[in-house]
Symmetry: none
Subunit: 141 residues, 2 copies
């Protein structure tokens, strides 16, 4: 979020600078208004393309190989055994209720585990947790 604010701040700053430059240019008699508008238009388009491409970057995904589980990573994140079990089942697409049944626990307990997992993995949703867990190689592909 801060990053986004920073970027937009930069963009606004750039806009202001260009704006001032354009104004100044208007008083240089050698340049016709045509040229000025064309130039500023080109610059603004470039700026827009830059912004558009920046927006793209957030979509790039890490690709992971189907390899062994990184137990170091698990330790570092402080994931408990139960949490790992729950995470694995969630990654297989089971609902909280189904996970609860498989592990002979109440749905409440699963929700607690899942919430704790989200904090430790720094995610907001289970699908995100699954993707991150696979990227970190803490569950089977």
């Amino acid at each position: 979020m801060l990053k986004t604010i920073f970027r937009f701040g930069l963009i606004i700053a750039a806009l202001l600078i260009l704006f001032e430059l354009s104004k100044a240019s208007l008083f240089i008699p050698e340049l016709s208004s045509d040229v000025i508008i064309a130039l500023s238009g080109a610059v603004f388009v470039g700026l827009g393309i830059y912004v558009g491409l920046k927006l793209r970057k957030e979509r790039i995904v890490e690709v992971t190989a189907p390899v062994a589980i990184d137990h170091e990573q698990v330790k570092t994140l402080g994931l408990s055994e139960r949490e790992m079990e729950v995470l694995q089942l969630i990654a297989e697409g089971f609902s909280n209720k189904e996970v609860a049944e498989k592990l002979f626990l109440s749905e409440s307990t699963i929700k607690t585990h899942v919430s704790n997992l989200f904090v430790k993995l720094d995610v907001k949703r289970r699908a995100q947790a699954v993707t991150k867990a696979k990227a970190l190689r803490i569950i089977h592909a």
Copy 2:
């Protein structure tokens, strides 16, 4: 491809029109040069962002394609282009709302796509869809 050419044609046409409009505006005394430049700048930035986002689609394939997507599988399942886009974003852990924002669509539309995806993939939940889609190699790991 024709679509792309057509769109870029439109963009160029729009640029020319705006260009002419901007020139004409210079001779309307009510509008200060400040306003004109600001407006045209904003419009050009918008155009640039549009172009940038269009470029994005082609690029992301290059960046995230180390694991080949099984296009045969995609055809067999009858998944449309839009559905694939939505599926990919869901696999990255985004909520329906977030996907809607990224694709400039309403959440309703995303829900429709997601529901259709579930039928085609024969799953009940998004996490399950993600796991199955990865297993079938129809999205990037």
